[in-house]
């Protein structure tokens, strides 16, 4: 059993062990989604919801189903199926019961299935032997950290495109990379505020 304090895990996964800026996972949507502040916020919220939910379900599936049956070899497979199924279910629920959420939440869902961090959170949970409380804070913190990173980058990008003349070759992915690099450097300053 992992002995870390859940609250420490939560803070660490946002600041000192940020999954986008330290582990460099979940980068692909950064380039596309961070064009627009509003969509970055929407994506961030959607990711937080999906990651936390699927992490909790995967924890239950792993510890109550796979381990007792000694079926750990198909862990990856089962996690992927659970994630895809959860997202599909969410899509259908939003379409049927919450149409107003469709434009601010629903359109991001297909992108989330293929986002590295959803699977990564579930895999880290297995690797680090987290308990249920720990996985709730870990998944919430990790997704919050990712959301924070993408919101920061998109805000800076929007401001930057308004006030400066970015060379044509650098527009889009190029300047996004450099902005992320600067923010990653900045976040390194958080090292040591919590000890994980």
């Amino acid at each position: 059993m992992n002995s870390s304090n859940p609250l420490i895990i939560f803070l660490a996964s946002i600041f000192t062990h940020n999954i986008a800026l330290v582990y460099i996972l979940g980068m692909c949507p950064f380039i596309v989604i961070s064009k627009n502040f509003k969509s970055a916020v929407g994506m961030g919220m959607a990711i937080m919801f999906v990651v936390t939910l699927t992490a909790m379900i995967n924890w239950a599936v792993y510890w109550l189903l796979l381990v007792p049956l000694h079926a750990e070899i198909i862990t990856y497979l089962i996690f992927i199926i659970v994630i895809a199924a959860t997202v599909q279910l969410l899509e259908m629920i939003i379409e049927r019961f919450f149409p107003p959420l469709q434009s601010s939440f629903g359109i991001f869902l297909p992108l989330i299935t293929v986002n590295c961090i959803v699977l990564a959170v579930s895999l880290f949970m297995v690797l680090r032997d987290y308990s249920f409380v720990q996985i709730v804070t870990f998944s919430a913190g990790t997704s919050a950290g990712w959301a924070l990173a993408i919101i920061l980058v998109s805000a800076i990008k929007e401001k930057l495109s308004l006030i400066s003349d970015i060379p044509s070759g650098l527009r889009g992915p190029g300047i996004t990379m450099i902005i992320i690099g600067i923010i990653a450097l900045a976040f390194m300053g958080f090292a040591g505020i919590v000890s994980l």
């Binding site: 992992n2 062990h17 330290v22 582990y23 079926a71 070899i73 198909i74 497979l77 199926i81 690797l127 680090r128 032997d129 090292a191 000890s195």
Partner: protein, 190 residues
């Protein structure tokens, strides 16, 4: 309705085929993999205790020279010269760090640290498994506990350098080593 059934049928068959493939490959390869892991463990223990051996007689040399003591679900390996070795295991930055640490017969200084398995960032955190880095642990004092300090600043007998750029992996190793050492001390007291 028909398309929903088709989707379900596809998912089920895909799931079954993949599952079967994985379970099959697992069964086919586990014997070899377990044997390899046993060899890894035994040769690491021999390395840690500084007992010479050749590639093809690891198991025999191990049987002849190492005393395996099982206490409280933990295993201690004792060499003929009373040096001890035991496993350390824990989570690093990316995956599990697993290895063997051996203490000199005085039970306060380190003889060797060997890493069997780690999944840290290649080129950075993974350097905790490099021979040059692990040599830094030789003859270090484990009391009151191992302390990892910024690279180049290690002065006291219980201080070891952190790898520049791999602070978290180094700190994880520090935590894992100290924890396994204190577990071992608890066992010894009984």
């Amino acid at each position: 309705m028909k398309s929903a059934l088709k989707i379900l049928a596809f998912c089920l068959s895909m799931g079954t085929v993949s599952g079967a493939l994985l379970v099959g490959i697992n069964a086919w390869t586990s014997v070899r993999i377990n044997k390899y892991e046993e060899m890894q463990l035994k040769s690491s223990v021999l390395d840690a205790l500084e007992i010479p051996y050749a590639e093809n007689n690891v198991i025999d040399v191990f049987k002849a020279n190492v005393n395996v003591i099982e206490k409280d679900k933990r295993t201690i390996y004792k060499g003929k010269d009373d040096a001890v070795a035991f496993e350390f295991k824990g989570s690093g930055v990316w995956g599990e760090i697993y290895g063997i640490i051996s203490l000199n017969p005085d039970l306060v200084t380190i003889r060797n640290v060997k890493i069997i398995h780690q999944e840290e960032t290649p080129g950075l955190g993974s350097r905790i498994a490099d021979k040059e880095y692990l040599n830094l642990f030789k003859d270090k004092l484990i009391f009151p506990e191992l302390v990892f300090v910024p690279a180049g600043k290690a002065k006291e007998d219980n201080e070891v350098d952190i790898i520049t750029g791999a602070t978290y992996s180094s700190k994880a190793l520090e935590k894992i080593l100290n924890r396994s050492i204190s577990d071992f001390m608890e066992l010894m007291k009984q």
